[in-house]
Symmetry: C2
Amino acid sequence: MKITLSYGGGGEETQKLINELFYKYFDNEILKKSEDAAVIETNKKIAFTTDSFTVSPIFFNGGDIGKLSVVGTCNDLAMMGAKPKYLSSGFIIEEGLEYSTLEKIVKSMSDELKKIDVKIVCGDTKVVPAGSVDKIFINTSGIGDVIKENISASNLEVGDKILISRDIGRHGAVILAKRYGVETNLESDCKLLWDEVKALIDAKINIKAMRDATRGGVSAVLNEWANSSNIGIEIKEENLKISDEVLGLCEMFGFEPIDLANEGTFVVAVNSEDAKKAEEILKKFNENASIVGEVVEGNRVVLISPWNTKRVIELPKGELLPRIC
Amino acid sequence: MKITLSYGGGGEETQKLINELFYKYFDNEILKKSEDAAVIETNKKIAFTTDSFTVSPIFFNGGDIGKLSVVGTCNDLAMMGAKPKYLSSGFIIEEGLEYSTLEKIVKSMSDELKKIDVKIVCGDTKVVPAGSVDKIFINTSGIGDVIKENISASNLEVGDKILISRDIGRHGAVILAKRYGVETNLESDCKLLWDEVKALIDAKINIKAMRDATRGGVSAVLNEWANSSNIGIEIKEENLKISDEVLGLCEMFGFEPIDLANEGTFVVAVNSEDAKKAEEILKKFNENASIVGEVVEGNRVVLISPWNTKRVIELPKGELLPRIC
């Protein structure tokens, strides 16, 4: 069975799609009220974010566009010290998509939501004529209760330590491999990060800044931080964990792992006294978590090789890999 | 100048687009913090909604996809008795779109935001290869403070009166005309509705249910209400206001005005004692506002002609007009 334009017409078939697919997998009382907007209760201070997902291919090692759409937005909330609570979902579907493909994606979203007790409370579905969109795009926006305040890219001070929660570049490398037909067992890092963040908050780690290294990779995060806080950052190359598969793919296609997108990997800056403790906590979730560098005087991001040579890491330029997320 | 893939890469060109275009038009302190999520303060009880806009053509009489993306989401909040406060914006742009076209759309959003004191506090921009999307799609999600509680499609009781805020079918008819190359001076009704809603709330009108008649038109709203409240609705055909241009286009293409989409027209159900007062208030905003019918026993929506013949109005079937919004 294929999705036809009538599923997006706002009439009988749209109601059927909502009742038989979305209410089945995103089952909750708020959504099922079917009003123009969901009425919800929150803390007075909330985090709010949005992300559109256009990843191609829509299924990849370690995830799919559905899982990614939940993980990506929940992680953006977590990075601001907020417990993800409510999501919206906006589907734009190409006429002719198999119903079973849509169901697989929706089920994948539902599986992810259950891991973190987050509810999709409002949604929108558009079906557009064949050729107006490539298969399916999903937007999710999210609301979270702020648990820890004042996490900001502008907080960094000289001496703060920089940690990365795991090995880098997996999501970008997986999409790269699939796009160019390279066989690999590598899986995307696509994963909810709230548990790691909560563990850091519970342990009263002084988190200065925190960001998941999605598009633009670790390079983009560090450069944005250097820019926002007007400081320099030095990273020891030997402390960056990179899997052999990612390294191999980067060599094959001429990419830098530090520029590649991640979807379940974050960079966190803490004050120097808390760094070891933060590393220990993060290692419980992934053995590749490590302190990778520190904040210094200056305004550039510098990578120091094991032989002590220095190389400036800039904000990535150009389009590394379109439709990575 | 054209938008290239690199504008969506998350690196230097993405930063340039954000700084030079989005921050220029959506200027506010929360957005400019450039964090993964916006941290905002709200009432404890909020309304939350989302909508993706895929309208084609992107510019039409009375509006464009940018204006529509602000109006559509703000109106969904207003329909739940919530003052729109914060929006997210997610752009999916086709590689090759003219920069000036994007700027025109963004400016149009900005103009609309200023009318209602709503801020875009978070956003996301994806650029996808030519052919992966048709020109530009925009998702907006919105948060509003609930001012009046308990507005719901399930509140209707026999005797309640149904009002429509103006003449119907304009937005659908405008898109229809433009799609098929029919010259017309007709303008879309695309307009923010918060002022009208606020006036009803301020006058302490007992609003039972309220919904803007977008995709599926007035037919869809009334059928959803009949279904949710398990009641019947009778509408007097002579009380439905329809412009000559909309009637003409409907005759030409075989549509029913009551099925056509609107983007600044709402249906409101009030208890019978408040109906006249509500009509007076709405007439101050549009002279075509009127009481059109009432809630009755039964479970169907019935249109009564001036000659007292009755016709059942069903939920529209099939795809009336793809990419209407």
